[in-house]
Symmetry: C2
Subunit: 269 residues, 2 copies
Amino acid sequence: MHAAAHPFDRALHLDHVEAGVVRGATEPAWANMVGPFGGVTAAVLLRAVESHPDRIGDPLALTVNYTAPIADGEFDIALRAARTNRSNQHWILELRQGGEVKTTATAVFGLHRDTWADTEAQFPEVIAPEDIPRSEFFDFVVWANRYDIRFTEGAVPDDGAHSESSTSTLWVRNAERRPLDFAALASVSDTFYPRVFLRRGKVIPAGTISLTTYFHADRAQVEAVGDDFVLGSAHANAFSRGYFDQSAQLWSRDGVLLTSSHQLVYFKD
Amino acid sequence: MHAAAHPFDRALHLDHVEAGVVRGATEPAWANMVGPFGGVTAAVLLRAVESHPDRIGDPLALTVNYTAPIADGEFDIALRAARTNRSNQHWILELRQGGEVKTTATAVFGLHRDTWADTEAQFPEVIAPEDIPRSEFFDFVVWANRYDIRFTEGAVPDDGAHSESSTSTLWVRNAERRPLDFAALASVSDTFYPRVFLRRGKVIPAGTISLTTYFHADRAQVEAVGDDFVLGSAHANAFSRGYFDQSAQLWSRDGVLLTSSHQLVYFKD
């Protein structure tokens, strides 16, 4: 791939190995503290399905299980359609390095059709991203510099103060602008730092174990966002005995609910 | 299995076939309109992991993808630990009938440890189950008769009235009393009828595609519930072009958040 490609597209580049196996490589621009950013791993798994010749429809649901850290370098993704129905398709994926399973995933793709529709979730009341400075959100973490993030509430705590609320709300787009697509949505679903940092007022060991994203928007709605900001809001329900959950929503600026996502996170405190 | 066993335990009975394969059978007491109740399918998949000799720890997360209707009769569950870490373990499962994949699943099991803890979600304000009559919740659906369900809000609409809210809150226990365990929690996570019925004021074609449950409670907290009611509350975020999501929480009567769960549902309307 041309070195001048967008960093996100470099991270999503896949080569065909054999039927049902594609090969990618970690992209230094998306490095996390250990291994790559989990969002970009979710995105490359989604892209593996999107680029499979048997794929029908668009993403409806994606569950990614982070089983072990991905080492810098190449990885193989084995994928197969476990079941193809008339209007939807179920995929199973495994990301491997040297025979070791580093990530497992299931994905549901499907066709959309016209139905009654309503968004019951409420678009958060926020000020425009143009009125908020860009956050220095973990600028020591490489991947965080790929995003232009502007918090409207729940910025990363820097004063040791505990928060009573685990909610963060933020505008986010690629720092190097790029049109939104489903893979980008999968990645942005994981841009919320661990909710336990906010509640405890400090950075502590924490990592996503399992991430599920539901895609509410269809292709036209995703493309309509272009390279504009999307609005994200995340909160936790419960912290208990080493684990907590985190639920998030991503919205377009004009109020289309693009995704809802949920994750289970381990922590030590 | 003895015919006098509890109907739920009959549905969860598994025989060893070979390494990594167990065999179960649909239980008529849990029949749905087509195939078995999705909750009991989630439960039998969880039980397959729980009863595997290599399993470590307790359930943390379970994602079940309903790929095709399960026919009445026997089924095989193939399962393997994709990865075992020091404190958690990742499983992949497939439920098959005659070579066809009917359900896929991933499960995360793990060890709990003492940490800071807090429940941020709010226990709903409700009246006690003793003060509410048992619902005639879809009594034409076989499995619904297995549960004693008492709605505090959002009962099944019977008058064609649309509701502005998709929220249902209910007390639920086994009609034939049985102590709560993780498998039972997996099943109860799916007892909420499709949210679209409530919004549209009618029963329409709808079915769960993917269900994810996070287990917040440890074994002692689950066992402390005994055979008492648990409180469940479910709502939807968005209905769009043939699909909607549904998020739910299950609580013990004394305010322990037992699970949070999420599902993607297709509908026609």
